[in-house]
């Protein structure tokens, strides 16, 4: 019972259903991506898995632990990188990593070794003693990514992995995620960056209107929708292609 399983998860805010009867599985060793337009429920889905909010219906389990019934056991089995960086503005990078490791009660030697390698890869070694509040958004995102990806856990969740990262950081992250997947961990990332998702993910879930509109490997999806890229597939699935054509016509009318 390892990996990540969601069955019939639903989340409503008042009358609005943000995530509706969502079911999906991410097996160990698989890098999966949640892609979809703004407001389709990507971040809500990750927040449900991370235990930040509770589902109104359905079940979510991480490594076999139900996130509602056994939240602590479930949380010990994943690391999470949110889309907003840490709020501990007056802690240094090293102090923040130590705090995060302490909360997970991970052995220091192994964690620090992994964190050291990642900090070096992200070009952050010189920022070790800098306060988080003094760093740019992108660097803080790299710190948050290092904190979570240095954990020895079977599942990794990343919300908007490329948000704020420089091209070098994106390349490092891509290799890191692929490496983590190859070591047998399940990785689920939610992203708007379709190019990144296509290059990194083994499996994509196209979210639309709170549910899964299509899923499969990037190659399978392209083939199914006879598209040359995931971007085209995405537009075909969501029907947004027509809206964009209409927008371009109206834009032309502006310039005349």
């Amino acid at each position: 019972m390892s990996g990540l399983r969601i069955s019939g998860a639903t989340k409503r805010y008042g009358d609005k259903t943000v995530v509706g009867r969502l079911s999906m599985t991410v097996e160990p060793g698989v890098v999966a991506g949640l892609v979809g337009p703004n407001g389709c429920g990507k971040t809500t889905t990750l927040s449900l898995i991370a235990g930040l909010i509770t589902p109104d219906e359905g079940r979510i389990s991480v490594s076999g632990y139900d996130t509602v019934v056994s939240p602590l056991a479930a949380k010990r089995n994943f690391g999470f990188v949110p889309d907003t960086p840490s709020g501990f503005e007056h802690l240094t990078v090293r102090e923040y990593l130590e705090l995060y490791r302490n909360l997970y009660r991970q052995p220091p030697a192994r964690y620090e070794e992994r964190a050291g390698v990642m900090l070096e890869a992200f070009g952050l070694l010189e920022y070790g003693e800098a306060n988080l509040g003094e760093l740019s958004h992108g660097i803080r995102r790299k710190v948050a990514t290092t904190a979570a990806l240095s954990l020895d856990v079977p599942t990794i969740l990343i919300d908007e992995p490329t948000l704020g990262l420089d091209p070098e950081g994106v390349v490092v992250l891509r290799r890191l995620v692929r490496h983590i997947g190859s070591t047998g961990s399940a990785v689920l990332l939610a992203t708007q960056d379709l190019t990144f998702a296509e290059r990194v993910c083994d499996h994509l879930f196209l979210l639309y209107d709170g549910g899964i509109a299509a899923d499969g490997s990037p190659a399978l999806l392209r083939e199914r929708y006879q598209a040359s890229s995931i971007e085209e597939t995405f537009l075909a699935v969501t029907g947004m292609g027509r809206r964009i054509d209409d927008f371009e016509r109206r834009l032309d009318a502006f310039s005349r």
């Binding site: 609005k16 602590l72 949110p82």
Partner: protein
């Protein structure tokens, strides 16, 4: 009971707070020195006041001893409620830490519980500084301060529990109301077992013990106080840490539309004011203070008409101190949108003045409601409006809160930040009133009209607040 995760989180928060004080010390060294000296001065001042008032209180009647203990209880209730109900274990942390394997109790203790308890200890030490000399003078048993401290802690935690219940009820979780009967029953139970009756409950035998008027069995009193404390702490922890917190509705009705004025100052102040006005914590808090002020006002005007005027002034000051969290937190709540104001075509001066205006106006606006509820019963018994001195004191209190909010900013959800901001506020307030009460009589002796002296000193305080705001914002932008 407190997990290592909770301690880790608390230590990280405490470290951040200490580091936040560094730029404050650079910005205002005089105030920092004052803040260091003020607590010691306050303890000495309270001990002196306790010593001086001992003889008067010792000679007073049975009702006075109960009233003294009830007054202490009210002060602790208001402080406990203030600290608890506006803080949030969830909102003060980012998503990465919240998703870490930390139990709900650990998360609560690390962010709200430990700072709340420290706050209780600090206020209790101040209270004991006042009461220990009194207890010594009247010859009460040496364990009486422990009894008093137990009572204060019980009231503090019970008020925290009530604050949490109110927060949840207004977020559509009426089941939280089930936490109130144990608190009421424990009060009545402790009163009945110690011979104080259901009302005023344990306050009567404790009052007797403090003023050494009659000797009630100490063991029975200890038992009653422990019952009260256990109920308060138990309910506080159960509601705050174990009951699921209702999630915020994402699409909620926000009230009247924001109308943005044309001037830069108007834009900054109206946006900041509207933001605080739409905050449900602020609305709940103001209503609670208004309710407490109204209730105390009704009781005083009906039962103690002889001291109505003095009580009225005290009530208004208590209300101003309670709602001071609003001017204190206005600048801190605006931290996340400071990038917007920096990039907008609004000058540095306009922004700072707009924020000072918004903070002070927010304080004035929230003090209006409790003032109204406190005033009406006094008008009913035929007393006039408050004296000018009380109005000035309330105004200066809110001004100082505005200044302290700039020097040590706090947000409405973060309990640790609030405790620190309130400490800075208390120190500044003590400093301002000590200096004011020393300077004012000397200027009046020189023949300067009293009204002019008061106006001049108030203007100086306003000037200091504006200067502190400029320096702090300058420091922030430089960083």
């Amino acid at each position: 009971m407190i997990s290592s995760g909770a301690w880790t989180l608390f230590r990280a928060n405490a470290l951040c707070l200490m580091r936040r004080l560094r730029p404050v010390a650079r910005t205002s060294p005089v105030l920092s020195l004052l803040a260091l000296l003020a607590p010691a001065a306050l303890i000495v001042g309270l001990a002196w006041a306790g010593w001086r008032g001992a003889a008067t209180l010792a000679a007073s009647n049975d009702g006075a001893s109960t009233a003294v203990v009830l007054t202490v209880g009210i002060v602790f209730a208001i402080v406990g409620f203030n600290v608890q109900h506006v803080s949030s274990a969830d909102r003060s942390l980012d998503a990465q830490i919240r998703s870490a394997p930390l139990s709900r109790l650990g998360l609560f203790m690390g962010t709200v519980g430990i700072p709340f308890t420290i706050c209780c200890l600090v206020v209790s030490i101040l209270s004991l500084a006042l009461f220990v000399p009194l207890i010594y003078v009247v010859g009460a048993p040496p364990y009486t301060p422990i009894h008093l401290a137990l009572f204060e802690a019980a009231i503090f935690y019970a008020a925290g529990a009530v604050g949490e219940v109110l927060k949840r009820v207004t977020r559509r979780q009426p089941v939280a109301l089930l936490a109130l009967p144990p608190l009421i029953l424990s009060w009545a139970g402790s009163g009945l077992t110690t011979g104080g009756g259901a009302w005023p409950g344990i306050a009567r035998p404790l009052g007797h013990a403090v003023l050494n008027t009659t000797t009630d069995p100490a063991l029975r009193l200890t038992g009653g106080l422990l019952l009260l404390l256990l109920a308060g702490v138990g309910v506080w922890i159960s509601v705050a840490a174990f009951l699921d917190f209702p999630e915020q509705q994402t699409f909620s009705h926000v009230g009247r539309r924001l109308r943005v004025p044309g001037s830069g100052f108007g834009v900054v102040s109206s946006v900041a004011l509207k933001r605080m006005g739409r905050n449900r914590s602020v609305q709940r808090h103001t209503l609670f203070v208004a309710f407490v002020a109204g209730m105390l006002s009704c009781l005083t005007s009906a039962l103690l008409p002889g001291v109505a005027q003095v009580a009225f002034g005290g009530l208004l000051l208590l209300a101003a101190l309670s709602v001071a969290i609003v001017p204190l937190a206005t600048y801190g709540a605006d931290r996340d949108s400071s990038w917007f104001w920096r990039s907008a075509p609004v000058s540095f001066v306009t922004y700072v003045l707009g924020m000072v205006g918004a903070s002070f106006c927010a304080g004035i606006l929230v003090v209006v409601v409790p003032t109204a509820t406190a005033t009406l019963p006094f008008f009913w018994v035929g007393r006039g409006p408050p004296e000018l001195g009380v109005v000035v004191v309330v105004g200066v209190t809110l001004l100082v809160a505005t200044g302290a909010g700039f020097l040590v900013p706090c947000s409405l959800e973060n309990a640790s930040e609030q405790v620190l901001s309130y400490a800075a506020f208390g120190a500044s307030l003590a400093g301002v009133f000590t200096v004011g009460s020393w300077v004012a009589p000397r200027l009046t002796v020189l023949g300067i009209p009293e009204l002019l002296v008061v106006a001049g000193l108030t203007l100086i305080v306003a000037g200091l607040v504006v200067a502190a705001a400029f320096l702090r914002e300058h420091e922030r932008r430089k960083a």
